[in-house]
Amino acid sequence: MGKGLPKEKIGAFFSEVKTHWKTPAEGKYVSYKEYLYIFLGIGSNYTGSKILENIGFWASCYLFMHHYKLPYLTFSIIGIINMPLNYIWTLIGWVINDNLGFLSKKTERKLYALYTSLIVIGLVMIFGKFDFLSNSTNAFIVYLNNMESIGINAASALKILGTHILWNGWAGARNIFYRKKLVPKYGRYKYSLYCDVIPKCIMVILVGWLPLYEIPDMVTRVWAANLLFACFNIFGFGNNLETCSKSISPNMQERLLVRTYPVKLSHFVHTIVSILILVVVDSLEYEWADINLYRWVYPLAFIIPAALTMVFAGKFQERIPQPPLEKKVQIKFWDGIFGVLRNKYLRINTIVGLIDALGNGMLAITTILYLYTFRLAGLPYAIIINLISFAGTPPDLCAPFFLKRFDYKQIMIFYQLTRALGNALIVLAFMFCGDNLMLCGTISIIVMFFMEMTKTIPTTAGHEMGTRMGDYQMYLSGERLESFSGIFGWFTGPVTSFVGLIIPIFLLKFGFNSNWDVLYLDEARVKIIAVPLIIDIVGYLLMTIPYIFWDYDNVKQAKVMKVLQRRAEVTAKQAQEQGEKISGGFTK
């Protein structure tokens, strides 16, 4: 038995693939040809979206670090300027998003009027002359003008706010228009790729080629860059196809297989592109500080995968059992709010996230270990990095096996306990053999290896739990309410912000600031590692408690899917009987 089984299984696998290359097996929804398209499509989409992570209006972006030369505080201040109004736009956005853009005519007209007004107001604020504010002695204006050293004054603050208003007007109007036009055809997750990909490519090129970083006056440079990146951000190019793949099948096991194999493997495309980019960057005169990185390298690295994404995007689809759009449940604001608040599992997840915030502001321990403790570089660095990152791959590929044998509660509690134990060992290593760098580092790396090994299956479980929570929400409220679930973030915001201040305050006290070289100082480094890790350990232990209340098992999920399928069938039938057009539903 032992000898014959692998060969038999391999044969069975190939036979299965051949038989169901174009037609899915009974009880399944995805053919193996679709697996291939998932691999190619997500590989391209993931690569493109990852490239975009290098281009953004944040301090760690090389464009801002080397060319715009803006202080990091500038980005925080802009965030604060935009913060109050942002709450309002978000609320409106939730209603639009979770209704997939299908609103009553009256609401739609009102929203278009609002968004048009915002665009006009935004433009007036951006291009209006507010220089007179520089001489004002009003306390608030003086306060704003005092921020000139970080590139902001009262006049530019108005322009920044105007940019925010313009952006929200423009983005809001697009949101209604394109969702309504494209969701019926392309589904809720993929539609935005179709309307955004071309303008996004143009913006990626413009970001590198528009020489706004040459503006000598920092105040002007800041608001101009903010405006440029607002335009850049209007057009999204997220990892939409992977999100779509999470709902590729109503069959729970099948979507787990899809996530484990074609999706995971597709990420290697990005790994290869990243290596190529490293090689190209190495050949640039100023490496990461070379503007050609933004003029040629990133545009090319983005546009090619973006084009491939569009080639494969249409080759697979989401399969959420849902009524046709014509029979879709209309989500009013309060339905949405109270709907998500009723979701027990979202509440559990929120509490976990809240406790997890205890680690907010912590530095990446791997960076500290590799670069500041061991001074790794070259081949040894590459070996250790790859060894540790590879540690998670074999278990990852076996995720379906483990997820079938253990329930999610067990897996997540195991995950939190292993994090707590692993971090405790690292802290002990630093505290008791910190002087012996080799010993301390070796212990830390072995622990990290095992932590990485035990991380990937819970991560997969976590993703699956997220999808299941969406299914359950759909059962509860008739829609997934993915946007409305953001309300939990509003409630936890103050706590996470407050808790997130704790570690940075400690780090500041231990000497950590914009100069990371302080990590070479032994006394500072040990404290910078150990104290946040201890707080994190407490967090991991506490995080096991909410999971005790997680009782959403496979049977419940299967029943939820049955309900959803039944709703889809019945509503589709009713629509047909009433002679209505059917679009966007999935009834199998």
Partner: protein
Amino acid sequence: MKNKEEKQFKGMTAPVEVSLDIPENEIWTYQIEGLAAPHINKPFTNFKIKKIVFTVLILIAVLLSMYFSVRVVSREPFEFTASENGYEFTKFNNTGYIYELTVDYATELVTKTDVADPEKNFELVKDETKPVTSIAKFCFNCDEVVEVIRIGKDVKEIDGTSFYTCRALKQIIVDEENEYFCDIDGVLYNKDKTEIICYPMNHPAYLREKYGYNDTIWPDNSEFYASYKAQVLTYVLPETVEKIGKLCFADTAIAAIYMPEGLKTIETMAMFKCWYLSDIYSYESSTAGDITDYSAIRMLSGVYRSLPDGLEYIGSDAMSYDRSSDFLRIPATVTYIGHHAFWDTVYKDGDKFEGNEKIYIAASEEEFKSVETGDQWIPTYDSGLFNKKVELVYNTPKRADELAQYTQKEDGTYELTSFINTELLTEVTIDNALTVENGEVKEDTSKKVTSLGAYPFKWDNYIETVYIGKDVEQLDGNAFFNLRALKKIIVDKDNENYCDIDGVLYTKDMTVLLHFPAAYEKCDTYVVPSTVTKIARAAFCYSDIKTIYFPEGLKEIDNLAFLKAEKLEKIYSYKADKEVLVTDESAVAQLSKVYESLPEGIERIGLDGFNYASSLTYLYIPSSIKNLDGYCFCYNAYVDANGNKAGITEVNVALSETEFKSVTKGDHWLPEFRNESNDTATINFDAKR
């Protein structure tokens, strides 16, 4: 068979099978056992109360979120905590406009709301009932604005890390009444000067201002760098110093350091990332007292290249990333070397080693085994796939006092490569090699010196006369660059390669003027002989020449030729009817066809040719010009104290605008006023003399 295979494979992914019987009219209400009931298109119970509660809660949450977000970016400029003896200054958060600060009493920033200018609309109010007695670790960490910190009389505790990464900090000045600390010219010490605590990161900027440098000068500008390095980047630790504190010199631009033999401890990261630190000297005794700049070097005796004998403790990362040093000797007295103490002080540039290719150790290999060493204290370099440690050379003796260093050439004669004027000589003869024995300078007749390397004297303020022997066959004007006290160069009459006229150095055929001594005594007027076709590189650099007469045969003024000749007011040229070899003022009356201009026939003015010759007001460039290299007149214009443009405000060119286009011009050749509008001098084409 196939069915069996399928079954086995499907076994892994078999879905949970459930069946539910849901009537059509219950699809929106059907409740699954163990889960909450769906709530779709139905009114909520107690809807109004729920709405109100929700709204109130969410408003509180939002307001708190906004408050904490603002808290993240807004901190009090001054944070103090009460301690037993007074107040500890725990954190300074600069508003961006505080350039000078006195740490004596608890301070509060009060904004003046009636003033718009952010530089002036605040006031620092001190509470004199709250004296500051300590400054916490990392108190000023990463401040990028404050330039001067004054320490009050009551401060008793300061940690070396307090001022870490204050990139703009030029000086730390301590109140003279303070019983625990003091400063020497803006560098922080403990009161008895046994420990140097902090050398401010931007102290070189203060020294630049002190010594009249406008900009930073980098090592690749070798002519300037020698003097810059001496005046701005050299530090002499007083003889009293026993300890260099934690992070003391970290991230500074210091290039040369002199340490006393009494030094016992170099703390953790004390000289971390001193990228330009190339010269580490030690000395046996000093009469310099509190003089810590380059001028103290002359007051040191028993100077040698090494960490000082007597040193016991070298902390972790003490000198890591100091890549400019190429000689490091660890004395036999060392008992502890921390981890990574010399990390990354060597690297390979292609096949060539840079930095500390070897570490020299005074002790024997056996003796050195007793030294406690941390991990990776030996620097490593890339070698194939893995790094390789540098070689340790044991039993390295302390180098003897060296007045001069010579390198033997292929023909057996010697080249003078370095001359450190430890004996304060005013006259130097370049003929036989010089050595010092028991404080006496002697000639070693077995070593014949026939050439001088580039900048052998580096920086010297004492040498007034240089005698060049008959056998010297190779030198250039650069050899005497930066000898500010040099009055004359006398060449042996039998020398076949060089000659002098009245102390000015020429090639034997008199076609190249090689060097005009910086302290030449008859420098009001100088007539360049009619035979001269080229003024050599740096020939008049730093000289006090006021008026110069060029012959019409002059074709080239090489790089840096009149750089920093700040007193040069007039440039005349003459056409020689007969050979002119008299060079002083008496010759002027004999010259015919004199005109105020660069000479007809001049073809090239080299890089920095007249740069910083700021007393020039009139410039005429004849039609023969072909090359105007970069910066040749760049800083010859300026805006004076009254805001008026001064120096060379106009450049008169004999050529037409079209003809002038064919002249090769380097970057910034034209005089620049360095004002806000970046004005440059105007060019008058087709100008007449």
